[in-house]
């Protein structure tokens, strides 16, 4: 195996391991150590206006071609892994095919258009880094978490506190379906033809391809030595070696060095491309990188909930708990648990996005839907949106937990600047929404039981308990929300005893404010 290929393999393995760990991590600490792997991805870097990274990647590609696709892009490496299995089943399985320009640039234009147009859900589906993120977080994380839970089980037996169990749940059906479909399509394409996705669909691949046509170094065929045996072409997963013309399509070559390795005559070598031999296809003009413009995206304001909010909708089932409680008390017996009815998501007029996202618009124009924040959220709050225009983007819900005051993990994890990094003190003053009380669900009135759990847990003391009967100061107390102080963390909604719908829930704000 050539040194170059060996270097490529080592780097690729490190990169995919880092990316995989970053996404499957359940400890919440990985993003501190491995966050760089997400931040050096091209699209996240562009969206986060991380100019240093963008410039470095451009220089890297201009020098060596699309090495990015072989050693940095986790989805590219992931496809290589699958292609490897394909090659095991049949050797020399690839062959040259000409570039599918129309298809390639159609996808590219669609990507740019949707990104600029603010439909980042479509852009996100095409984009490689976030596709990898979705596959990892939806399909690999559960496996990892189950492994963790097994260790937690064992460590509990052993009296150790090293591991503790994690919840595993499908966070968004839409995203899950997208992830599975992407995986299936990619697996089939990679198994059969190697890097078809990278060279036809992937917008990052196309963008880098525009640069790599001009790369200084590249694999070059020495026509003197070449015996046109086509071994290299048959092992080229990019299908870019045209032996008939002794040409390599450098816009598609991902510099995997396989051709160098397999050539029986050592006719292919990675070296400086001399001008005379630059047989690469003529560069297309006019397709200059538009990526820089992405930041100017003018996204539409996120969608309004399509149907009018019906409060009655989430009052249903309110009586259930009361009934079961009464049954338990009919004859007083000791022990046992009251049934816990799972909480349901209330219908919100405006969705809630995490502090640091600044506004629905900012989030929509920067988010690639990679799911890193969703995966990193230790409180079960973030999940991908199911809305058509916001598909894959994170949003908040408080059925499993609430946005805890000491946590800013999502803002630290986000590689694209969609959720801008904030500090813990900053978070306590960012208003992402406000709480709304629903009289019909409140157990103080419904069950006639004292309760102040929302007020007691409000981190900003925005809830005051006031008499339910204004004329009787000693009547049972109900919560009153001071919306000016409420930051929308959802502690009240999560800890409200009313099930399945809480008696207090959070409405999101389109633009976050600092209070």
């Amino acid at each position: 195996m050539s040194v170059l290929k060996r270097v490529r393999l080592v780097l690729a393995i490190l990169a995919i391991l880092a990316a995989m760990l970053l996404f499957v991590d359940v400890s919440g600490a990985a993003h501190l150590w491995l966050g760089w792997i997400a931040k050096i991805q091209l699209l996240p870097a562009i969206l986060a206006l991380n100019l240093g990274v963008v410039v470095l990647l451009v220089i890297l590609t201009l020098l060596f071609g699309r090495v990015y696709c072989s050693v940095i892009c986790p989805l590219g490496i992931f496809q290589d892994v699958m292609a490897r299995f394909g090659k095991m089943s049949r050797k020399n399985r690839y062959s040259y095919s000409p570039e599918r320009k129309v298809l390639r640039y159609t996808f590219f234009v669609l990507f740019i258009a949707t990104l600029v147009g603010g439909v980042s859900s479509v852009a996100g589906i095409l984009e490689p880094y976030s596709s990898f993120g979705r596959i990892a977080s939806n399909l690999f994380t559960p496996v990892y978490a189950w492994g963790n839970n097994l260790l937690a089980y064992i460590s509990e037996r052993a009296g150790s506190y090293a591991f503790y169990p994690r919840e595993v749940w499908v966070k968004g059906i839409g995203t899950f379906v997208v992830a599975v479909s992407t995986l299936v399509v990619l697996a089939v394409l990679a198994w059969r033809n190697g890097r078809t996705y990278c060279n036809t669909v992937c917008p990052v691949g196309t963008l880098l391809g525009l640069l790599s046509r001009w790369s200084v170094f590249a694999p070059v065929i020495d026509t003197e030595k070449c015996i046109s045996c086509k071994i290299c072409s048959r092992n080229c997963k990019s299908a870019c070696i045209d032996i008939a013309n002794h040409k390599i399509d450098y816009s598609r070559c991902v510099v995997c060095m396989d051709c160098i390795d397999v050539c029986p005559k050592d006719a292919v070598s990675f070296r400086l491309r001399s001008k005379s031999k630059a047989a690469a296809s003529a560069p297309d003009g006019g397709m200059k990188a538009k990526a820089g413009n992405a930041k100017q995206t003018v996204a539409k304001v996120a969608e309004k909930a399509p149907d009018a909010v019906s409060r009655k909708g989430f009052i249903t089932g309110a009586g259930l708990l009361a009934v079961s409680a009464v049954r338990a008390q009919e004859m007083k017996v000791d022990g046992g648990f009251a049934e816990i009815i799972a909480k349901k998501v209330p219908k919100r007029e405006t969705r809630i996005v995490p502090a640091g996202a600044q506004s629905l618009r900012h989030l929509a124009s920067h988010c690639t839907g990679c799911q890193l924040c969703v995966e990193a959220c230790p409180n079960g709050v973030l999940r991908p949106s199911g809305g058509l225009m916001t598909l894959l983007q994170p949003e908040m819900g408080f059925e499993r937990g609430y946005c805890r005051p000491e946590c800013v993990v999502c803002s630290e994890a986000c590689p694209t600047g969609a959720i801008v990094k904030i500090t813990v003190p900053e978070k306590s003053s960012i208003q992402v929404g406000h709480a709304v009380w629903i009289r019909e669900n409140c157990i103080v009135l419904r069950d006639e039981q004292d309760c102040d759990n929302c007020a007691r847990h409000c981190p900003t003391e925005a809830i005051t308990m006031v008499p339910s009967d204004p004329d009787n100061r000693r009547s049972r107390k109900i919560p009153a929300v001071n919306v000016e102080r409420c930051i929308g963390c959802g502690a009240c909604e999560n800890l409200c005893p009313s099930r399945p719908f809480s008696a207090i829930y959070v409405e999101g704000h389109e633009n976050h404010r600092t209070i």
Partner: protein
Amino acid sequence: MKKDNIKIKANDMIGRGEFLKRLGGGAAVTAVALAGCGKGTVTQSGPLGEVPTDKMTYRVNKEKGDRVSILGYGCMRWPTRKRADGNGNEIDQETVNELVDYALSHGVNYFDTSPAYVQGWSERATGIALSRHPRSSYYLATKLSNFSNHTRESSMAMYRRSFEELQTDYMDYYLLHSIGGSMGDFNSRYIDNGMLDFLIQEREAGRVRNLGWSFHGRKENFDEILAMHEKVHWDFVQIQMNYSDWRNARGNNVNAEYLYAELEKRSIPIVIMEPLLGGRLSNVPDHIAARLKTARPDSSVASWAFRFAGSRDMILTVLSGMTYMEHLQDNIRTYSPLEPLTEEETEFLYETAELMLQYPTIPCNDCQYCMPCPYGLDIPGILLHYNKCVNEGNLPASSGDENYRKARRAYLVGYLRSVEKERQADRCTGCKQCNPHCPQSIDIPREMRRIDEFTEKLKQKLEF
């Protein structure tokens, strides 16, 4: 020393919440399987010592001539397991049968249950296990647990149902359940509806052989009910007694020293409950355990509490709610025969009790009377987790503590393990429906708040 360490570990596990409780069923089965090897042989010896079959100490109820084993089986903590259909728990009847068989064959002959115990399943399970033996080989005790409905009809129905469930036509010992908290409650449950008069008739008819009551509450009420002795003639009284409560009863309890003396004056036989405070006297702070172990290296921590409870002459039997075979075996060992405490040992235990007072444990005995909480909390699970952390030194007094990081992790991870997230203290609404049920008079909502606030401090890594 090593063998005993293992034992302490086993005791440690008691309070570890639902997860272990479920598993406990399995552990007990294993233990029974192991014990099964020794079936038919007279003794079973192992590293922990023999479990004698014929050395049990008995006390005689002079009036009726009953020869009662000093170890009584409390049927409040029968093992449960997850139902096969996943809908909650059920009694693990096979294990109950094995525990009952083992207890009988090792000399235990007093079984104490109630219609309220183990979600209302205890009487039936106890009846099933005991009916496999001759009725003359054991004494049955159950109670009129008419807590929620005081009407005569409902109380009568409860009384009759106990006979069906326990498959018997007479009760050896019948109790007015948990009285003394308020006289109004007592009158409403037993006097105004004529239930006490009815039970006196039943005693005359021979269907109740001994009539008595169990006490939790105020001293004045104890005196008042005891004064009825002239008229009613109480055959026995059941009180909470242990070396911690003897002089330092907490909450709404009365010092056992006083209760015992009053009963002794009237020569009323005494049944002891909570000799171990629901495990709090076996799962003690580390250095208390070390103190007891140093004094008697070969005895379990729990054995001290049982010897204390059984040493006095008026004690008819000492109830222990034994969920696991290991507990049963350990207690049989302690009482076969009972080696009464010497005066020095008794003083030593009083000193130990004083030392234990310095530990801020919450006096929960895991009796489950407060359950089910209508809002889903696992109240005993939360309190036991808290106590466990107190005992193990995992309750940092300040965020500057040397072991703060370790203690914080043990507290938070242990909390999640012991109590499901949705059943933790932060869910308490403060409705106070639980408080009247607690025999230890714990202000449960107040404790829930305190624990929640402490947990938040740890979670948020606040300085304190």
